[in-house]
């Protein structure tokens, strides 16, 4: 029996196990929305956002928090173009998201029809792959391929463009169980001889560091990473994307590395004789001047994407594989060699060195001020949520303080736009995570600049009674740019003063949420407590020290040992 394309699409989504769709209706997708209401009542949680960009960020936040692909449905033209920032964000951070866009009827494509945009052309460089479905008969296979590509290998966003007539025409529903794509065969199994070489280097190392990134989280290798680090006694540093892949409170954790990494992490990498990179890609914010990055170390690099290997830095042992599969095998090889923590005495000096670096230069700020220090807010959030909240961030100083002062012990609890650095990401991402985990505490650590980039989503949290908490570190500046202007541009604060802002407390109230404000340090804790006890969405407006800077800081392009300290 033949059924309409719109129905085929929704049945296919059900078959993929999709339970939540984030989106926004429009003319080109009206058939899908109609079918959703008539034929699939109660089958999906539909979250109606207030801007399509937020739909993609929310789907992305859902994907980061759960590990399952996030799904969006938006209309043609502006509906599609509004998803571009969300797609680029997910692309840079390797997040599985599937975006369905409406398109004008096939007969009108190319005619500059109303709300027409060549969205496949526009999003080609910021998706892992994309499709224009030109026949209803191709729909099932395309949806299957889209989910397969988005969630396997190095994950990423996939866009599927759906012309209106393809949704209205009928075809037989035959959903394939699997798809065979001869042109898409990601290498996930590690090359064992390379792992043996890696094991040998690891056994010989005297100053080893594990450098773990987002790939550990996406492959679900956090347990294996912990086993490996503990068994070998190797200290672990994480990238921004990797936070939570190794417990932040673990004695072997060095914290984050890179531009705003900890002193001990950067010093350890700088002085290491072996760097074991797992699911990380040697981004410029991590390496600083690449020629001097871990210059005395042999480098082992495990990554599922061959293009990441030998791209920015020469590595000695490249291993193209899924991080989890590689670590399982590596642990097995090391165990066969009879390695136990007791044999690791030769690392004693190295451990005391990393401890010394820690006590030399801890993350710190002035604790005596009446004016609120933003770091103090993050520290209090950590304390009062016992480190168990899901934290999303915006981009800039708020993001770096969240990364430094909230210690993440579990993967998938820190949601932040690392690669693209998208201001406006945090709030919708928090919505996605909250939808997936209604009972967990989800907090967006925001700046007063970023939060205004998707502030309209206060209506969404109101509509669905999502108890997302927003902590605004309000300094009246675009703080990170101001910090750079202060340090490198003679304190000429060109266009970074944003003191003209809404009253965030009143704004929260206008949307039916609760607004709270703290102006002095002693008010911080009561405000956080009250927010956490409030059942619905809350904005906490923390009026913080205006010109507080994030330290340590490695100036862009310098070696990571050249840190500006407090």
């Amino acid at each position: 029996m033949k059924i309409k394309g719109a129905e085929i699409l929704l049945r296919a989504l059900k078959e993929e196990g999709v339970d939540t769709i984030f989106g926004y209706p429009g003319g080109a997708v009206i058939d899908i929305f109609d079918t959703l209401e008539r034929r699939f009542p109660g089958d999906f949680r539909f979250i109606l956002v207030r801007h399509e960009q937020a739909a993609v960020h929310a789907a992305d936040g859902y994907a980061r928090a759960t590990g399952r692909p996030g799904v969006c449905l938006v209309t043609s033209g502006p509906g599609g173009t509004n998803t571009v920032t969300g797609l680029a964000t997910a692309w840079m951070d390797s997040i599985p998201v599937v975006v369905f866009t409406g398109q004008v009827p096939t007969a009108l494509i190319g005619n500059d029809a109303f709300q027409e945009a060549d969205i496949v052309g526009i999003t080609r460089p910021c998706t892992k792959h994309n499709y224009l479905v030109s026949r209803t008969e191709d729909l099932c296979r395309t949806v299957k391929e889209a989910f397969t590509i988005a969630s396997t290998g190095r994950p990423g966003p996939v866009l599927v463009d759906l012309p209106k007539d393809v949704m209205q025409s009928k075809a037989v529903y035959e959903y394939p169980k699997t798809v065979d794509l001869p042109t898409y065969r990601p290498t996930v199994k590690p090359h064992v001889p390379s792992l043996r070489r890696a094991a040998e280097l690891m056994l010989k190392a005297e100053r080893p560091v594990i450098y773990a990134g987002g790939g550990v989280i996406s492959s679900g290798a956090h347990q294996e990473l912990k086993t490996l680090a503990e068994m070998m006694g190797f200290p672990v540093t994480m990238t921004l994307m990797g936070l939570g892949c190794f417990p932040g409170t673990h004695p072997l954790s060095l914290g984050m590395l890179g531009m705003h990494g900890t002193y001990r992490a950067n010093m350890a990498v700088n002085n290491s004789d072996l760097l074991v990179a797992i699911g990380a890609r040697f981004d410029d914010r991590v390496t600083g001047r690449v020629e001097e990055f871990a210059a005395r170390a042999s480098i082992i690099h495990v990554d599922v994407d061959p293009t990441s290997i030998q791209k920015n830095i020469h590595v000695d042992v490249p291993i193209v594989a899924d991080a989890r599969q590689a670590l399982v095998k590596l642990i097995e090889i090391l165990k066969k060699k009879g390695e136990t923590p007791g044999d690791r005495d030769k690392l004693k000096d190295w451990h005391s060195q990393t401890t010394a670096w820690r006590s030399e230069q801890r993350l710190r700020f002035d604790r005596t001020t009446e004016t609120i220090k933003p770091q103090f807010v993050v520290e209090k959030l950590y304390e009062l949520t016992r480190g168990e909240a899901i934290i999303s961030t915006e981009v800039g100083q708020n993001q770096m303080w969240a990364a430094q002062y909230y210690l993440f012990d579990r993967p998938r609890t820190f949601l932040s736009s690392g690669g693209l650095g998208t201001m406006g990401y945090g709030f919708p991402a928090a919505i996605g995570a909250q939808v997936a985990f209604p009972d967990k505490t989800v907090i967006d650590i925001a700046g007063d600049g970023s939060i205004q980039m998707n502030i309209q989503e206060l209506a969404t949290v109101g509509q669905y009674k999502l108890p997302v908490k927003i902590a605004i570190l309000n300094n009246g500046y675009l703080g990170m740019v101001r910090q750079w202007q202060g340090l490198f541009y003679d304190r000429i604060y060109s266009q970074t003063d944003i003191t003209h802002a809404p009253d965030f407390v009143k704004l929260a109230e206008a949307y039916g949420a609760v607004g709270l404000r703290a102006r002095t340090t002693p008010e911080v804790e009561p405000v956080i407590r009250q927010a956490l006890e409030t059942p619905g969405p809350v904005i906490m407006d923390f009026v913080v020290e205006r010109e507080e800077d994030v330290y340590p800081m490695v100036p862009a392009g310098e070696p990571i040992k050249n840190m500006i300290l407090v």
Binding site: V120, G121, R124, P125, L181, P182, T183, P306, T307
Partner: protein, 170 residues
């Protein structure tokens, strides 16, 4: 050191695939010297021959990035082995009756073909390696080239040069 590489790419013969490949090159600031593309014997696939320049590290990235594209089946750097490559050029020369003989003499030497003649022009077709094309163009230039159309390089690896057993050879 920058070297010339001839990269042969087998892709699915689908709309948008050329844009994906070209977009990857421009988006990552890789250069394309020439590109030729047409369906293979199996018309569900197309063969692209891409000539590019770059350091060893850049060429490695180009090849990996090409392989990463979902519609790409196979990528081969022909430069690493023995291969035959050809370009095709159509050259329109100014050739009034008096000069025609000289043009024809040069085209003969290069085994070029005359494909069109008019009162004052002559159009020849020549194929060969890049250096052969450069050579004929250099000789023809002083006589006045009016127009020149040149394809990108196409290339194929040479067949295996194993000795053939006697009975099969017959």
């Amino acid at each position: 050191m920058e070297t010339r590489h001839v990269i042969s790419v087998l892709v699915e013969n689908k709309p948008g695939v050329l844009a994906r490949v070209a977009g990857m090159f421009s988006g990552r600031s890789f250069n394309i010297h020439s590109l030729a593309v047409a369906p293979t014997l199996d018309t569900t696939y197309s063969r692209m021959t891409i000539v590019t320049h770059g350091s060893e590290q850049i060429i490695e990235q180009i090849i990996k990035q090409l392989r990463k594209l979902i519609n790409v089946l196979k990528v081969q750097d022909l430069t690493s082995g023995d291969y035959v490559d050809r370009e095709l050029v159509l050259i329109r020369m100014k050739a009034t009756a008096g000069k025609r003989a000289e043009v024809l003499r040069i085209t003969d030497i290069f085994r070029a073909k005359v494909v069109d003649v008019s009162h004052d022009t002559i159009t020849v077709e020549v194929s060969g390696t890049q250096s052969k094309i450069e050579a004929i163009l250099e000789l023809l230039a002083p006589m006045g080239i009016l127009e020149l159309i040149r394809t990108g390089t196409i290339a194929i690896p040479r067949g295996k040069k194993k000795p053939i057993p006697a009975e099969e050879a017959e």
